[in-house]
């Protein structure tokens, strides 16, 4: 399919569907704004599903469209350009589904993929724990099998985004008592709506709560809700983290570009655009975004057959999270004293969210410090400390 035509098709669909009752969703949702219209955004997921826009990269036998990377990227770009809201189904579509397609049983695929593709079932991610922030190997949530084979869980996960809006959670837990590190972990699929699970919101610095603590107190899931073999959870988790760095992160740059446009608007409107120091920093922000963009495009380079480390992939998380954090600071400096007050203006409100919420960017999914360790060890062969 021709990319230009495909882009037009996406744009046309968005123009005719992100209207009416969905119009208020434009540019809403996403990290820092997840509390905006969650119910309506689930309906929007179903609207997208009926338009055929979920599972673009999945294989056809699993109900996907098997589109090449370039078109997946084009979709994300056009989606964001049109103001498409933050995706409620993101974790299911881009983490659970690829994991099940790669490593799940045929039964698991039949059971779970349709609910994800059709926007009926929503997923949360159970990785981090209070004692194991950036250190997955320190997981202490336990799981074991009852006599009937059903799995039980005991422990606590934190930083589970949108758990209170989700139906299922995938959990990495320790199945071999006494095991340490990467050994003895299992990867389970667990329904959230049950007596053994309590979800407590974590109030973040903005005062809102889009993360949760999830407490498992003898929570239960069926015997066949394990991905991979018992004890192989680390392998599954690592595979899943690989999918996380996939093509959908490129759509992120369109969000960033939108935020930068808002910043330019505010600067023009309030006169900050005349401040030479601000001008230099705005130019740098634009330049940094091009760096992220070309870095992302380089990730799409074909290197079939090569086993080399992809430096551009290795640096990406660190690069974007710090860029985004700096953008937030720049935005507040552009807004000036008025930034003290929670704003009703769309542009200012969004930029304030960026400033405060981007504080988490350099922490979750591997802190800056962990990222630099990984870059130096995998990218440059520096010895492990």
């Amino acid at each position: 399919m021709n990319e230009q035509e495909f882009r037009k098709e996406v744009a046309a669909w968005m123009a005719t569907h992100l209207v009416g009752r969905f119009a208020c969703l434009k540019h809403r949702g996403g990290p820092g704004d997840e509390e905006a219209y969650p119910a309506l955004r689930k309906e929007w997921e179903q609207e997208m599903a009926s338009g055929g826009w979920v599972g673009l990269g999945w294989p056809k036998e699993h109900g996907g469209r098997d589109l090449p990377l370039a078109l997946q990227l084009a979709f994300h770009e056009e989606y964001v350009r049109a103001g498409g809201p933050g995706r409620m189904g993101h974790i299911g579509e881009t983490l659970t589904a690829p994991t099940l397609i790669a490593l799940g049983t045929p039964e698991q695929q039949r059971r779970f993929l349709p609910g994800i593709r059709e926007g009926r079932e929503y997923w949360a991610q159970g990785y981090s724990e209070p004692g194991a922030g950036s250190d997955l190997a320190a997981i202490s949530t336990r799981c074991w099998q009852d006599e009937d084979g059903r799995w039980r869980l005991q422990g606590q996960k934190v930083w589970t985004s949108l758990a209170h809006e989700s139906d299922w959670i995938f959990v990495i837990a320790r199945s071999t008592p006494g095991s340490v590190g990467r050994e003895g972990l299992s990867f389970l699929l667990v329904p959230l709506d049950q007596p053994g699970i309590e979800i407590h919101p974590i109030r973040q610095l903005t005062g809102e709560a889009e993360f949760n603590s999830v407490f498992f107190d003898g929570a239960v899931t069926e015997a066949d809700c394990i991905v991979g073999q018992p004890g192989e959870g680390w392998k599954v988790a690592m595979a899943l983290l690989g999918f996380e760095r996939g093509v959908s992160t490129l759509g992120q740059q369109m969000h960033f570009s939108h935020e930068l446009q808002l910043l330019l608007e505010v600067a023009r409107a309030n006169g900050a655009a005349q401040d030479p120091a601000i001008r230099q920093r705005i130019a740098d922000a634009w330049i940094g975004l091009q760096g992220l963009r070309y870095n992302g495009l380089r990730m799409l380079e074909d290197d079939t057959g090569s086993t080399k480390v992809r430096p551009e992939a290795l640096i990406y998380k660190y690069a974007w999270s710090n860029w985004h954090r700096d953008l937030g600071q720049l935005a507040m400096d552009v807004i000036g004293v008025a930034g003290d007050v929670r704003s009703d203006e769309d542009a200012v409100r969004r930029l304030q969210q960026v400033f405060f919420f981007s504080r988490s960017d350099t922490i979750y999914a591997g802190t800056n410090e962990i990222q630099l360790n990984i870059i130096s060890e995998r990218g440059l062969g520096m010895p492990r400390g």
Binding site: S128, G131, A132, G133, S134, D135, A138, V158, W159, I202, R203, Q204, L205, G207, D275, P276, A277, I278, Q329, M332, D333, G336, V337, A338, G339, D340, V341, R342, Q352, F355, F356, R359, S360, T362, I363, Y364, T367, N368, E369, L372, G385
Partner: protein
């Protein structure tokens, strides 16, 4: 110049540190604020810079700065900053002798809490003032709006810089918060320790006595007020930065990751060291400039002219602003996931640091004015 603190100054600092460690109220209920403020007044802190002949303690910038540093550390939420650092300083620098005698004792002994209204962000440039005054017989009518005023709801009075209609001049007016025509709307602010309100003046009538400025010195006096207030704000910023560093050090010593305290990682050690370098440099500068300002105030001969005062304060202010922003950001980062939560203190400092970076002039504006001094003269 000697930066050594006197025994009295050390004692004041220690008292403040101990008292505020106990009573500092960023996490306390808003209902407790009035009690804290009363206690602070009782300790005499609101009287430090008021001259002895007006029943004050007649101390100077150094003592006030030591208090501000400790208050910044504990994120104290009282009308101290607006009453003492803003309103008192404005009266001292721009007020008539008569007004000083009438108003300062009440501010020094807590009979009144006050705020100061200049241009946005406390800009002292007359062109930025948004309140106008029109003469009406012996008195005045005030009209206009101040979008963001430091006002914690306990303020009794505002000192309002207003442009005089039909005249290029400006005046400083005392306006009761409860006066007819004054409408105060609390704002939903990010930094809850520094409450703000919008003040609308709808033909507010004040009498002749309410004009408190000395017309000959009001313009320069308000500029000087702004510079001196910025120096005190810098002290407060240093206190906040010091507390961010303390929080980061304490947390990383306790938090275990990868089987060892986070504080043992060299990268973490270097980050807290970098915080210390910036904070202590700012602290040295703030204290040094305060000593210089205090010395100048005591001796006419060594008095700082406006340009020299501005330059010295710009150094203290920019170093403090950047140190506080840096330390607050790093404190969040070094706390990892919990640094991002409402329940841990780094976010409180992060919001205060942002607030402080914008009021009384952003760093880039201070730098540009300083650059003009350094470069644009022959």
């Amino acid at each position: 110049m000697n930066l050594t603190l006197s025994d009295e100054q050390r004692a004041l600092q220690e008292t403040a540190a101990d008292f505020l460690a106990e009573q500092g109220n960023a996490r306390k209920d808003v209902q407790d604020d009035a009690g804290l403020w009363a206690h602070i007044v009782e300790l005499g802190w609101a009287a430090v810079q008021v001259p002895e002949e007006l029943d004050g303690l007649g101390l100077g910038a150094v003592e006030l700065g030591l208090l501000m540093e400790e208050m910044g550390r504990r994120l104290v939420r009282t009308p101290f900053f607006s009453t003492v650092v803003l309103a008192q300083t404005a009266l001292l620098q721009a007020g008539s002798a008569h007004a000083q005698q009438r108003c300062l004792p009440a501010l020094a002994f807590g009979a009144q809490a006050a705020t100061l209204i200049l241009g946005p962000g406390l800009d002292a440039d007359p062109a930025t003032l948004t309140v106008h005054a029109r003469r009406d017989g012996e008195g005045w009518h005030l009209h206009g709006e101040a979008a963001q005023v430091l006002d914690d709801g306990q303020i009794d009075v505002a000192y309002v810089a207003a442009r005089l209609e039909g005249d290029a001049a400006i005046g400083l007016f005392e306006v009761q918060a409860g006066a007819t025509g004054v409408e105060r709307t609390p704002l939903e602010v990010w930094d809850l320790t520094r409450p703000q309100a919008r003040w609308c003046f709808d033909e507010v009538r004040v009498d002749a006595e309410a004009r408190v400025d000395d017309a000959d010195k009001v313009c320069a006096g308000l500029v000087r007020t702004r510079v001196l207030a910025a120096l005190q704000l810098a002290a407060e910023q240093v206190g906040g930065a010091a507390q961010c560093l303390q929080l980061a050090v304490d947390y990383t010593k306790e938090r275990v990751q990868f089987g060892r305290p986070v504080a043992t990682f060299q990268a973490v050690k270097h980050r807290v060291a970098e915080m210390m370098v910036r904070m202590e440099t700012a602290r040295s500068t703030v204290r040094g400039v305060m000593a210089r300002v205090a010395a100048a105030a005591e001796s006419d001969a060594a008095a700082l002219d406006d340009a020299a005062l501005f330059a010295e304060v710009s150094a203290a202010r920019v170093l403090a602003t950047e140190a506080y922003r840096y330390c607050a950001q790093e404190a969040i980062q070094l706390h990892g996931g919990v640094g991002f939560t409402w329940e841990y203190d780094p976010q409180l400092h992060f919001k205060r640091a942002q607030w402080a970076s914008q009021w009384l002039g952003a760093s880039s504006a201070w730098r540009e004015t300083l650059a003009a001094q350094l470069l644009d003269v022959a």
